[in-house]
């Protein structure tokens, strides 16, 4: 799709998307361990994690200061910081960057919050296009069961409480996630997601992911990208301890 900048670098970018409780983070973690076990240089980037922007987002969330537009813009700022200072340099260096959520999260979530599809797609136009984007498709009820079973409290913005869909947090969360799910489903063709059935067993899903990675990027993983010898790994680990 024409929205994002093609990745012309040696390294590769793999992203996972899906609603909360789809199991995407677990799968990405397993995938990156598998890549590392082949001595591939792997880096990891998580949505909403820029140290430069974190404090602003945290404070504004606490005080419920966000509107749909500022919510969207601050997340794009966070994303831009991670892209400019972390993801792009690492891809240039030849690493495989694994991102837990990417611009598509904004395409789904921010639109549900009320910004236009066109505006948010333009907003992320500077982003590098992933080499692989996995979408973990899960029925709403399954995802909600996982979330409610695993954690104690759903947060205000996570539940979409700012949209005033319902006064009940759980009900609001249900409606909000349902709408996000619809947005994801509607963009599959547009953004070229590889759809993974997230109701399958963890092992089945992981095998599917690895098959797709080998099929799509196998050649690159054997040649182009950055690999470590055991000596490099030891040295890097030693350096990390010093730092």
């Amino acid at each position: 799709m024409p929205l994002l900048v093609p990745n012309r670098h040696r390294g590769k970018l793999i992203v996972v998307e899906g609603i909360d409780g789809s199991g995407k983070s677990t799968q990405l973690s397993l995938l990156s361990q598998w890549l590392r076990s082949q001595r591939i240089a792997v880096a990891f980037s998580e949505w909403n994690s820029s140290p430069l922007v974190r404090e602003t987002t945290r404070r504004a969330k606490k005080k419920n200061m966000f509107t749909p537009v500022t919510f969207s813009l601050i997340h794009a700022t966070d994303f831009a910081d991670r892209l400019e200072r972390y993801i792009t340099p690492l891809i240039k260096a030849g690493a495989v960057v694994c991102a837990d959520r990417y611009a598509y999260t904004a395409f789904a979530r921010d639109v549900v919050r009320g910004v236009s599809r066109k505006w948010v797609r333009n907003l992320y136009k500077f982003a590098v296009r992933p080499n692989l984007a996995f979408y973990f498709r899960v029925p709403l009820e399954v995802a909600i069961g996982r979330i409610l079973g695993g954690r104690n409290a759903i947060k205000y913005y996570e539940a979409g409480m700012d949209l005033e869909l319902s006064r009940n947090v759980e009900e609001s969360f249900r409606i909000f996630q349902g709408r996000i799910l619809d947005e994801y489903e509607a963009m599959i063709q547009e953004v070229g997601f590889h759809v993974i059935d997230a109701t399958g067993s963890i092992e089945e899903q992981q095998q599917q992911m690895r098959d797709i990675v080998m099929q799509e990027l196998g050649q690159n993983l054997r040649n182009g990208i950055l690999r470590a010898s055991q000596g490099d790994i030891d040295a890097a680990q030693a350096a990390a301890h010093i730092l």
Partner: protein, 230 residues
């Protein structure tokens, strides 16, 4: 050249804003760094209040949501160009929705020291895509009047040297290293900013004011023009 109400959005209307409710006036003072904008804003405010208008003055990176974060990020000199543009856009959106629009609803004269145009000019000067940033900023309201204090870059240098007495890292575009030192980088960066603003002048209906005139002359010119908005 001067737009009369009702106020409209450029192309991306903000949810929950009824444009007919915006009874105030939105007046923008634009121009590059050190051109003398804040002096004029202060004098205009005093004059407008004397005339009996309630005035809100606001400016870049002063918002409750992102102002502090921007200033901390700038201290660390770690801001990439796109990150900086979007951080400023966040601040602008916050001030638009939480300060400017409520004030316009209440019938205030909103006097803003810069608007989306500086934000876009800085982005363009840093090599970002013009169409991209124009679309990002398209949720802005079209002001009643935009006064562009236009100066040549050599006059800005004079003002910096005689005023603050030293160059500023960000005003010199040193994050992009346009030159080997602050002076050279300032010249190149501000030249690009001025060029970007010049190119916007027609499209966005700027009233161009020659900043080489004395502050008194400029003030009188602004006064005469603003008086016509009421």
């Amino acid at each position: 050249m001067l737009l009369k109400p009702p106020l409209t959005f450029y192309s991306e209307p903000l949810a929950g804003v009824d444009q007919d409710e915006l009874q105030g006036k939105l007046i923008v003072i634009e121009g590059p760094d050190s051109v003398g904008r804040s002096t004029q804003v202060a004098r205009l405010r005093a004059w407008l209040e004397h005339e009996g208008h309630a005035v809100l003055d606001t400016g870049m990176a002063r918002g409750a949501l992102a102002g502090k974060g921007i200033s901390q990020a700038k201290d660390g000199n770690l801001l990439g160009p796109i990150t900086m543009t979007l951080f400023y856009a966040t601040d602008f959106a916050d001030r638009l929705e939480n300060e400017i629009i409520p004030a316009l609803r209440a019938g205030f004269v909103v006097l803003t020291d810069r608007y989306i145009y500086s934000l876009m000019a800085r982005a363009i000067a840093r090599g970002e895509d013009r169409i991209w940033i124009e679309r990002v900023a398209s949720f802005a309201l079209v002001p009643h009047a935009i006064y562009y204090l236009r100066a040549e870059v050599r006059d800005l240098v004079t003002r910096v040297v005689l005023g603050r007495g030293s160059f500023d890292h960000w005003e010199s575009g040193m994050d992009m290293r346009f030159g080997t030192d602050m002076h050279d980088s300032f010249i190149r960066y501000q030249t690009r900013v001025i060029r970007a603003l010049d190119r916007m002048a027609k499209r966005y209906n700027f009233v161009v004011v020659d900043a080489a005139k004395t502050p008194d002359q400029i003030f009188k010119e602004l006064q005469r023009s603003i008086a016509k908005l009421f």
